[in-house]
Structure formats: C-alpha cells, structure tokens
Amino acid sequence: MVDAVIQRVEVGARPRQRSSLRKHMQRKSTVAFFMALPLILLIALLVIYPALYSLHLATLNKSMQRFVGLSNFTFLFKRETFWMVVQQSCIFAITAVIFKAIIGFFVAHFVHNIPAKGQRKWRGMLLVPWVIPPAMSCLAWLWLFDPSYSAFNWILAKFGIGAIPWTGDAYWARFSVILINVWIGAPFFMIMYLAALKSVPEQLYEAAAIDGANWWQRMWYVTLPMMRNIIAITALFSLIVTFANFDIVRIITAGGPIDKTHVFATWSFWLGIQGGDIPLGACVSLFMVPILAIAATFILRDINRRGSEV
C-alpha cells in the first residue's frame, strides 16, 4: 500500500518535473553564456585582437601606411643593439629567476624551521617587497644607488672600499637591475615554497628519520619530490613575468648606459612610444612570444595534469 502511494506520487510529479527540467537546461546554457559574455568580449577585443593586430603592425613602415613585409625584422637583425637586447633579456630573466628561486627556497626553510607561533610575523615582514608597488620601491633603490649620495657607497667607504658606480657602469647596472628584481620577486617564491612545505605530510619525515635518513637525504628524497610541482610552476610563472618586466629597467637605468641594460619591454617602449616608430616597437615586443609560449605550454600541461589527478 505504501509502495503504491509513493509510486503514484512519483508518477504524478514526473511529467511536470521533466518539462521544467528541460526548460531549465535550455535556459541554463543561455544564461551561462550571457554571464560570461562581458569576459568573452573583454578578452576578444582587448587581448586577442591587439595581440593579432601587433602581428600586422610589425609588417608596416614607420608611418604605418605601407606594407613592408618582413623588412622590420631584417632591419632589426642587422642592428647590434637588437642582439644586445636579446642577450640582456635572457641574462636578466634567467639569472633573476634562478636567484629568486634559491633565495625563496632557503628563506622558506628558515621560516618553516622556527616555531609556528612566530612564523606569521616573519612571513608578514618578508613579503613586504612584493606588496610595495614596484615603481615606488624602484625609486628607493634609485636613491640608494645615487651616484653622489649613495647610502651603500657610504657604508662601503667605512670599510675602505671605493664608490661603486651602481647605475653608471654597464656591468654594475646589469647587476643592479637583477638585484632589484630578485629583491621584489624572492618573497613571492618564499610564500609559494612555504605553502608547499606545509603540505608535505609530517609522517614522511618521521618515516625517513626512522630509516636513518640524514638532513640532506630528507631534503633530496622527501622535500624536493613533494615540492617539485610548485617549484616548477612558480619558476615558470616568474620566468614569464621577469622576461616581460618593464618597471625596473625603465626607472633605474632607462636602458642606459648606452643601451646596455635594455630588455625587450623597455626597448620596444623606447622605439614605439618615445621614438614614434610603433611598428618597429611592436616587432621587438613580438620576440618575447616564443619564450612566453614555451613557458605557458609547460604551465598549462602541469595544471591540466593536476586537474585530472584531483
């Protein structure tokens, strides 16, 4: 009897539910599309279109009226400055990412080592360089590097070391911009690695300790494999951001001395906005694409893989 009642109720309810469900499903995708529409428009109009447009721009002459094919590219290949920029961009990005990763890794370990009570305070303090807008902190560095009033040189003078031309000499200027980039970026690595360290189960270390593993073995066989994903993805993210960096070089050296510190972004700004040759500038910035594409492919693969694991 009870069964029959339930059956009847179900039968009675089903047709209405199904039709409303179907209507719902039909409406659902439309509603979803409209909810995502502003995002689609924004990406299409202000990201995808300009990105493709820059390909077209790179094939125009300076006044942007005549199609010149690849002659902007051949013109660049013949200029010594261009190859210097390629070299400097690679040195800048690779050195900075490596040092950021190393410093971030060790600082994360130091923070992880101390009692949990004080970790928050230290973490908060060490992330400050990342929080300050880069343009503002670069001004502080510029002042610290001032040719005549450098506060660093004042300290060095106390130790009897002569003044260092932080931004005046090509090699020191290259060192300075990398130093600032490491200063800004290392805290980000520290935070990411700290999060990764916290996610390593304590049991693994206990098991390793019981097996008699020393500090180095624990690091090599437990910590690093567990952190590998985060290390890779953070480094790739940072590689993209560092490779495309603009603020630091622009403010500290503006590309000088004699174009020795220009990276792709600052040189294309210099040519395109200040020099008024937009096609040539667009052409220079296009050379960032290969490295960005490679890094993006790896990141995407990693994220998709992790998505399917979960």
Partner: protein, 304 residues
C-alpha cells in the same frame, strides 16, 4: 652474551645521540633566526631608507653626514606634498581608477567564473583555459597595438581616449579580470555540488544561487580577488606611462616619477615621501588582510 653486548653498545651509542639531535635542532633554530634577520634586513632596507629620507630636510640630504640616521627630523616633506594640488590630483586619479577597476573586475569576473565552473555551456572548458592563457600574456606585448587601436578609434569616432585618466579603466581590466576569474573558478569549484542543487530544487534562480549561496560561501576568495585587483591597478606603471601625459591626468606611480623629478633636480626628500605615501594603501590593506592576500597569491598556481 653477544646479544647483551650489542644491546648495551647500542644503548650507550643512542643516549648521546638524542642529546646531539636536540643540540642540532637548537643550532638549526639559531641559524634559522640568524639568516632570517639577515634577509629581513635585506628585504626591509629600501622601505626603511624611504622613511628615513622622507623625514629629512634638503640640506641634511645633501650634507655629508651619516645617510642612515635622521639628525633633524621634520615633517616638512609630508606637509609639502599633502598641500600640493598636483600630488593630491595624482592620488585622486589613482584612487578613482583603482576603485572603478575593482568594481568592473568583480562585476565581470564573478558571474563569468560562476558560469564557467557550474553551468557548462558549449566551449566553456576551452574558455576557462583561454582565461588562464590571457593571464599569462604580459601588458608589455599589448601596449603598442592598443595605443595604435585607440588612435584609430579617435579617427573613426572623434572620441579621444589617449591622455585621459579614464582610458585606464578600459586597460586595467585586461590585467585583473583573467586572474580574478581564474581564482574565482577555483574557489567556486571547491563548493560542494549538493549546495547549489538544493538551492535549485528549492526554486532559486541561477542569479539567486550565485548571490545567495556562492558569493557568501566563497567570500574569502572574493576578498582575495578584490585585493589582487586593487594592488594591480594601484601599482600598474606601463599603461599610464604610455597612455597619459598631461600632469592632471597622471596616476601616482607615473606622477611621482615625471613631475617630482623636475629638470634633473631631484628633490629626494619629496620623492621618497611621495613614494612612501603611494606605497601606503597596498601596505595598509596587506597589514590588515594578510591571510587573504597570501591566499590569493598562492591560489593562482595551487588551485586549478
């Protein structure tokens, strides 16, 4: 007997080892603190030096005294800047741009993230990946074509976009929306399906599900995304440098650099004060909402 010897030898060996282990740990702790102090000095040196310089007079800055100490502290630089119309204009422009950009970003990215994470439609998976890829495209690749596009827009419609502060309202969302959408997709995806199913069965519309269930539950993510959008639009340097030039249209980062550095005469006291005040809003937000800030920072790569 042999067993007994082994056991006693083991006991003898293991007892001092416990002691050495705890001693090792103490030393590891001391070294950790030592290096942490060292790195904290390195990381905090520039902001501290900004503060030191901002409290000095021009005479003291150009004197040959110890640059790391303030002998005659003064608030003259702060008074000078906070009463200068120019600086207040920069600050106002920055604040307006950031507030508008944060609102626009949230209005675009929250519904989009909801649609992409819960209401599958044709191409939604591709779009989610696309959103992530756009986040990886740097602004240094786009500013020249955008500049040219806006110039052509002026020719076509006679509406001038370049050298207006509100042009930044169009530009900044390209930086903030992809990332915010991406982390909101992650936060929304972590909400159990039963929750919105229950709401739908109770007769809630999709919009109600979003506003009554998803936004309150994913509030920490929403705060993290808001903080991100604010800090990005406050700190952005390339777009305002390329797209705005008149003094009254500048935002803080560009304003300080182009207008306080007058004709190669650097008034470092004022520049440092301006930079410090410009860095203050993100720092204050960070100080109060540190956990959300860090959650947003790690969400980009750890959620997905």
């Amino acid at each position: 007997m042999a067993v007994a010897t082994v056991a006693s030898a083991k006991g003898a060996a293991s007892r001092p080892r416990y002691g050495s282990m705890s001693r090792n740990r103490t030393w590891a702790l001391r070294w950790s603190y030592f290096f942490l102090v060292l790195f904290a000095i390195f990381f905090l040196l520039p902001p501290v030096y900004m503060l030191i310089t901002s409290l000095k007079t021009s005479q003291e800055i150009s004197a040959a005294t110890n640059p790391w100490w303030v002998f005659h502290p003064t608030l003259e630089n702060y008074r000078g800047l906070l009463t200068s119309n120019e600086y207040l204009t920069f600050f106002r422009n920055s604040a307006l741009v950031s507030v508008f950009v944060v609102s626009v970003t949230m209005l675009i990215s929250v519904p989009a993230a909801f649609a992409l994470s819960r209401m599958k439609f044709w191409g939604s998976a591709t779009l989610a990946t696309g959103v992530f890829l756009t986040y990886l495209i740097p602004e240094t690749l786009l500013f020249l074509p955008l500049f040219k596009m806006f110039a052509m827009f002026k020719e076509a419609t006679d509406i001038e976009l370049i050298n207006r502060w509100w042009v930044l309202l169009i530009l900044y969302p390209t930086l903030t929306v992809p990332f915010c959408t991406w982390i909101m997709i992650g936060y929304f995806a972590s909400i159990p399906k039963e929750l919105d199913e229950a709401a739908l069965i109770d007769g809630a519309s999709w919009m109600q599900t979003l506003t009554k269930i998803f936004i309150p539950v994913a509030l920490p993510g929403l705060i993290a995304a808001t903080i991100f959008a604010f800090t990005v639009s406050w700190a952005q340097f390339l777009y305002p440098l390329a797209f705005t030039t008149s003094v009254d249209q500048l935002v803080l980062p560009v304003g300080i650099i182009t207008s306080l550095v007058k004709a190669d005469v650097y008034n470092w006291g004022q520049i440092m004060t301006g930079a410090l005040l410009g860095a203050a809003p993100p720092l204050i937000i960070y100080a109060f909402l540190m956990d959300y800030y860090i959650a947003g920072l790690t969400a980009g790569a750890t959620k997905g």
